[in-house]
């Protein structure tokens, strides 16, 4: 079988692993805390979105890198 394509695709797949793990931990822990203390959920949610923004940047850096260096 002959596969043609670009190595950058595999690179992006690898680069997405880290943020994936990070997002999993972030959301899991937030849900856990919300279940423990439902009255805190508003504050937890906004903190979670800030964290989400920081983690997401790593995935997106992987996305833009091939365009910059490619």
């Amino acid at each position: 079988m002959d596969i043609s394509g670009n190595l950058a695709v595999i690179g992006y797949g690898l680069a997405a692993i880290g943020p994936g793990i990070g997002l999993g931990i972030l959301f899991g822990k937030t849900i856990e805390s919300m279940a423990r203390q439902p009255e805190m959920s508003g504050q937890l949610r906004s903190t979670m979105f800030i964290g989400l923004a920081f983690i997401e940047v790593f995935g997106l850096l992987g996305l833009v890198t091939p365009f910059i260096f490619g």
Partner: protein
């Protein structure tokens, strides 16, 4: 052998019609979507193309919505006014007051609301039929927003604490052993002067760009699979069709989420450089 016009995403797109006959109607989305031909005033700083037009339409829509909303505001709100007030109230309470506190929040709520709604309107054009591209999916506009926030938080802090106070607060965070400043100060310097505006820009533009590419990939794969692919591959078109719907709703969510993230990070950065007496 790499083909000459290959970009990372066009090669991603070629995975989809894997065993199909070549030389047919499959057009993978490419980076050229973001650089449409210039229509007017070529060669001047005011070069006008499709994306600029989309941005102007979004701006006009934003102004119209709020001018009409403000003109027709009544004591007993109608449906349109309720939605508008919910949005404004969300910016005021959940973003400004919750992060900055009542006193500072009141001062900056206008800017934060403006950022939220302009980013949202420019993002949402990515899913509106016939416009089909987000105004923020080319780096210029997110960069302007990020520089605005950058100037805003530095200006606000310098105004409140003076230049020395601002540098001391943001480069030498209190409550840390003295020798750690050797490590901490360069990191904080990079953070304040480079990473914050850079991540604001990249986050917004890369989200919108990838959203457009995903949507366009789903649409063009669906049309290819239904119209041109061999009979065995046609059922796959149902998957990409459903995927197009799913990504459509995801993109609406992402547009709102990115506006929220941009606005709340503005508030957080302001709060970080303004917090003083403790």
């Amino acid at each position: 052998m790499p083909r000459p016009q290959e970009t990372p995403l066009s090669s991603l797109a070629t995975f989809l019609p894997l065993a199909a006959d070549s030389g047919s109607g499959f057009v993978p989305p490419s980076l050229e979507d973001f650089f449409p031909p210039i229509v007017l005033w070529e060669g001047t700083p005011f070069a006008f193309n499709r994306i600029i037009m989309v941005r102007l339409i979004a701006t006009v829509a934003l102004l119209l919505v709020f001018v009409i909303g403000a003109r027709t505001a009544k004591l007993v709100p109608g449906r349109f006014q309720v939605v508008l007030e919910m949005g404004l109230d969300f910016c005021r309470r959940s973003i400004a007051y919750e992060t900055l506190g009542e006193k500072l929040g009141k001062k900056y709520v206008n800017i934060i609301t403006t950022i939220f709604f302009s980013v949202f309107f420019l993002n949402i054009t990515g899913v509106i039929p016939f416009l089909n591209i987000a105004g923020t999916s080319v780096i210029g506009l997110p960069l302007i927003f990020a520089l605005w926030v950058f100037v805003l938080y530095i200006g606000a802090s310098v105004k409140m604490h003076g230049v020395g106070g601002f540098l001391k607060l943001s480069l030498f965070p209190p409550g840390v052993p003295k020798f750690l400043y050797v490590l901490l100060t360069p990191v904080e310097f990079l953070q304040v002067f480079l990473l914050r505006p850079a991540t604001l820009t990249i986050r917004l533009f890369a989200n919108m760009m990838s959203g457009h590419l995903l949507l366009a990939l789903c649409y063009s794969a669906t049309s290819y699979l239904f119209l041109h692919a061999s009979a065995g591959l046609k059922p796959l078109g149902i998957v990409t069709f459903a995927g197009g719907f799913a990504f459509f709703f995801l993109e609406i969510f992402v547009a709102a989420l990115q506006a929220y993230v941009f606005a709340i990070l503005t508030a957080v950065y302001l709060q970080m450089v303004l917090e003083a007496e403790h």
